[in-house]
């Protein structure tokens, strides 16, 4: 594994292990996000993605391994789902100011950045799923984050909604220069702007630029480019098993995976766009 230069990493984890009820959830996982980098973690349900995020944001302590954060690191966290109890009255404007108060102008600007003007007085309970997620994103932005952590933030959004959300994130990265760590359980949908994709399944199966992951021998990849190039639809084949010879733990990552600049998006024709062929659901 390549030596990590420590100067550019916003957050760096080494050999994280965690077990629950005797079953390993994470097994010697190495992970890092650099300044200005978009990293997407994909993996099936139960692959330890959320656990990894919890450890990285400091909500959970690993059994073994270390997490090192850049000094003064500000994390903007967008949770997977947030249930606001109906007993708590919570307008959008007040929610944005949790836990720190922000001026009216800052709140309005954050809402504008996610395309939700004039929603301050709305109760959170009256928002649609897509609006709710964008309010969560706006709240994270008010933290002026160095690192934006999105835990399955597009769950439940339809494809145009997801595409719009990803465009906002990409735009924010470009403007604010923050690192972005995204998690997706949907193996087909990975943001094309990802500099690196990390495939997690208890251990790191595969790790590299979208291109390298897409062309990794154990994966067949199918691309879709129907949404202004914002969405890339990968198809990961997770039928391979690791039982008869665990593939090397830790990232046997291809060169350059550690601190890579933005990777060019590989562009195919539209032929393999199965997701779109099936018709986008309006949900």
């Amino acid at each position: 594994m390549p030596a990590h230069p420590d100067t550019t990493a916003l957050i760096e984890a080494r050999t994280l292990s965690l077990a629950r009820s005797g079953r390993p959830v994470l097994d010697r996982v190495d992970f890092r996000v650099d300044r200005g980098e978009i990293v997407t973690v994909v993996g099936p349900n139960g692959s330890g993605k959320s656990t990894l995020i919890q450890i990285l944001i400091g909500a959970l302590a690993p059994d073994a391994g270390t997490v090192r954060r850049a000094p003064g690191l500000r994390i903007g966290y967008v949770p997977q789902s947030l249930h606001i109890d109906a007993t708590m009255p919570m307008p959008v404007g007040r929610f944005l100011a949790l836990p720190q108060r922000h001026g009216r102008a800052a709140r309005a600007e954050a809402l504008a950045q996610v395309g939700l003007q004039d929603l301050e007085a709305q109760p959170m309970s009256a928002l649609s799923g897509g609006q709710f997620q964008r309010v969560l994103l706006a709240r994270a932005l008010l933290m002026r984050p160095d690192l934006l952590v999105l835990d399955e933030a597009t769950r439940g959004l339809d494809q145009p909604g997801t595409a719009a959300f990803y465009r906002i994130v990409e735009d924010l990265r470009a403007r604010m220069g923050c690192g972005v760590l995204m998690v997706s359980h949907d193996l087909h949908v990975v943001m094309s702007a990802s500099d690196r994709v990390v495939c997690l399944n208890g251990h790191i199966c595969c790790h590299g630029t979208p291109e390298i992951v897409a062309s990794a021998p154990e994966y067949r990849a199918l691309f879709g480019v129907g949404t202004q190039g914002t969405l890339a639809l990968y198809r990961h084949d997770h039928d391979h098993d690791h039982d008869d010879g665990p593939c090397g733990h830790g990232p046997d990552a291809p060169a350059g995976a550690g601190a890579g600049p933005a990777a060019p998006v590989r562009s195919h024709g539209h032929g393999h766009n199965r997701q779109h062929g099936a018709g986008p659901d309006a949900g």
Binding site: M88, M90, M143
Partner: protein, 261 residues
């Protein structure tokens, strides 16, 4: 002015209501109603132990409630369901408290007073303790408001903002212990959690923000306390239960009102 028992009762009720209203909002938001109940019942054990050990009742109640909170969080971390635990502690605390009270040699303990409160017997010292405790609770909630609110919304969100959700939980538990300790004299162990929950539930439909809900709950609790004292004086009914009955009547009115927001 403080010579009048009715004035002292009104001030005592007011002090408890002003602290219990905002704290009760957290109890309601976190769906901790049963925790409030368990705490209040266990307070009886605290009184009994305090009398047995000849220490201050306030300290006894505080100690037992804090031990209860630690036991609940410790055991629930080991996989015992929280509602089961609280059921055990609520009734266990009440039962053991009653047993210990009966064992106290020569002590004449006013059991009805402990269970249902004895607000008309509140003295100047009690009043000072009640208002000091209430001020402490209100101060604690105001000081930690943002953190408490964030931790109540979502623990992950709080941790990502650098807020230790478990510390905020402990602060709420401490505030709860304080309110229980000061409210014991006013409404009694059986009805303390009503002072927490009923005002908060009553004003929910009227509130647009968490802050307004906390303020309205304090006002509603105060109105119930004053109304209950006045009513019990006229109708010659037990004061603590009358206060809670008035609060419940207010809840019924608010529940019938058309909902908004």
């Amino acid at each position: 002015m403080l010579d009048d028992f009715l004035t002292r009762a009104a001030l005592a009720g007011l002090g408890v209501a002003l602290a219990a209203g905002p704290l009760g909002c957290f109890i309601v938001w976190r769906r901790m109603a049963y925790f409030g109940d368990a705490t209040a019942h266990a307070a009886l054990l605290g009184v009994a132990l305090a009398l047995a050990l000849s220490i201050s009742v306030f300290a006894g109640v505080l100690a037992v409630v804090l031990v209860l909170a630690l036991a609940v969080s410790g055991l629930s971390a080991r996989g015992v369901p929280v509602d089961t635990l609280l059921g055990v502690f609520a009734h266990g605390g009440l039962a053991v408290g009653l047993v210990v009270v009966s064992l106290l040699p020569g002590a004449r303990v006013d059991l009805m007073g402990l269970l249902l409160g004895d607000i008309l017997a509140v003295g100047r010292t009690d009043l000072a303790v009640i208002w000091a405790g209430a001020a402490l609770v209100i101060g604690l909630l105001a000081w930690r408001w943002s953190g408490l609110l964030t931790a109540t919304l979502n623990a992950d969100l709080a941790r990502a903002s650098g807020i230790d959700a478990r510390r905020e939980d402990m602060i709420l538990t401490l505030a709860l212990a304080l309110v229980v300790a000061v409210a014991l004299k006013v409404v009694g162990a059986l009805l303390i959690s009503a002072m927490l929950i009923v005002p908060a539930a009553t004003v929910r439909p009227l509130a647009r923000t968490p802050e307004s809900m906390a303020v309205l709950a304090a006002i509603c609790g105060a109105a119930a306390a004053l109304g209950g004292i006045a009513l019990s004086y006229r109708a010659d009914t037990p004061t603590g239960p009358t206060i809670v009955a008035v609060a419940t009547a207010l809840f019924a009115v608010s529940a019938i009102l058309p909902r908004r927001g």
